[in-house]
């Protein structure tokens, strides 16, 4: 983080990251939330009134093959969720669970006043993973019932 704040070139790069995600957001959209392979995380931040939806599609091997987001809020919130969808693709569920808001904030060089945006993105991905896990458990329970 220090080399991003000391040199003006470094600071420029950081600034462009958030602007880039805001102007060219990756993975905006929706997945079919009724699908058994899709986990949906829907979170809100009451203090600033931001809403964030993050969805993941998981294959049968437990790997995240697609991710989409829709965020209505400030540029930092949009950039944070956009970054998370980029990061989770190709990761396993367990790996995706380790994403921390501090990593997001560091990557985007978020100022202190915008740290809560990265927190929101972390909560969104965790909610999506949780939703997927609950769905899978329900499927298992149904399968056990059916076989009895």
């Amino acid at each position: 983080m220090s080399n991003n704040t000391t040199s003006s070139f470094g600071r420029g790069r950081c600034y462009f990251k958030v602007v880039d995600h805001y102007e060219n957001p990756r993975n905006v959209g929706s997945l079919d939330k009724t699908s058994k392979n899709v986990g949906t995380g829907l979170v809100g931040a009451p203090a600033c009134g931001d809403v964030m939806k993050l969805q993941i599609e998981v294959d049968d091997q437990g790997k995240i093959v697609d991710a989409r987001f829709k965020t209505f809020g400030c540029g930092s919130a949009i950039a944070s969720s956009s970054l998370v969808t980029e990061w989770v693709k190709g990761k396993s569920i367990a790996e995706a669970m380790t994403i921390k808001n501090t990593d997001i904030a560091k990557e985007l060089c978020l100022p202190p006043v915008k740290l809560h945006c990265s927190m929101l993105a972390e909560d969104a991905i965790k909610a999506a993973l949780q939703d997927y896990r609950v769905k899978q458990q329900d499927i298992e329970i149904e399968a056990v019932k059916a076989s009895n």
Binding site: V43, G44, C48, D50, F72, H116, D123
Partner: protein, 276 residues
């Protein structure tokens, strides 16, 4: 009486900043009381840091400090405020001018925005009366009137004028007014995700936002705008009722909802002007 040296070691920079202001503010408090105030300031600021209680737009950090200052102020019965110019006692709260020499006074740290704007501390507020009070105050307080006056008067007029601006902006809109009223009672909306949020409500917000995002005609935008305004009016009534009954948690929940819809209303206005 605790020595000043000890306080220099333990005081935060915030508390040190207040010390000259307290003396300049012509409060005839004993030094013991002032040290106790500094101690309280320190405690308040450290607990504020650990709780991470910082708030949200438009209630900024400066409003947070304003409210902290209000909650800390001793009862006015024990204080005598004196005019910095002529020394006569300044009885009223808040005092903008000395009634004897008419010199502008520094802002009263113990006055709430409601007191500054001469309004009852209720959610129901006559905005026309508020606006009149604002214009009347700025007519006499605005720094433009002090260009030929002393540096001290210019400084005080700046502080007073800025404070009146802040008070007016906060009390004008129902959302900021309601949030300020909660703040006065020590309630804040925490930053970060609301773990207990109703998923159905969040989904509804998502759908409205998506519809607005996808709107291609002014008619579509206006329709969403009308629905949002109706929702906001309904919430305003509910907030008024809750605050009137002292149901702070209910008021807080409605104010949170209002925040989300206020954001949508801002986007409606943006979209409307984009499509013009």
């Amino acid at each position: 009486m605790v020595s000043l040296t000890i306080f220099r070691i333990i005081c935060t920079s915030e508390a040190l900043h207040i010390l000259p202001k307290l003396f300049a503010n012509r409060r005839c408090l004993s030094k013991t009381s002032i040290y106790a105030t500094l101690c309280k300031n320190f405690i308040n600021f450290s607990s504020k840091d650990t709780q991470n209680n910082s708030c949200f737009k438009p209630v900024s950090e400066s409003t947070g400090k304003h409210v902290s200052s209000l909650l800390r102020t001793f009862s006015t019965a024990s204080e005598k405020l004196n005019c910095w110019n002529c020394g006569h006692s300044v009885e009223q709260t808040p005092a903008f001018f000395c009634i004897f020499c008419n010199f502008v006074q520094p802002p009263d740290e113990g006055a709430s925005y409601f007191q500054i704007m001469d309004c009852d501390q209720t959610f129901a507020l006559d905005t026309q009366r508020l606006q009149k009070r604002y214009l009347d105050l700025q007519r006499t307080l605005h720094p433009d009137n002090y260009t030929h006056k002393t540096v001290k008067e210019q400084e005080f007029s700046e502080y007073q004028s800025a404070l009146v601006n802040k008070a007016y902006r906060t009390l004008l809109k129902p959302l900021s007014r309601g949030l300020y009223m909660l703040e006065l009672k020590g309630m804040h909306i925490q930053e970060g995700t609301d773990a207990g949020a109703d998923p159905t409500f969040l989904m509804e917000l998502m759908e409205i936002n998506e519809a607005l995002d996808g709107a291609r005609s002014r008619e579509e935008v206006d329709k969403i705008g009308a629905a949002t305004r109706e929702k906001l009016n309904d919430l305003t009534k509910r907030i008024e009722a809750s605050l009137h009954k002292g149901e702070l948690q209910a008021a807080k929940a409605f104010l949170v909802q209002m925040k989300y819809f206020a954001n949508i209303e801002d986007k409606v206005k943006e979209k409307h002007s984009e499509l013009m």
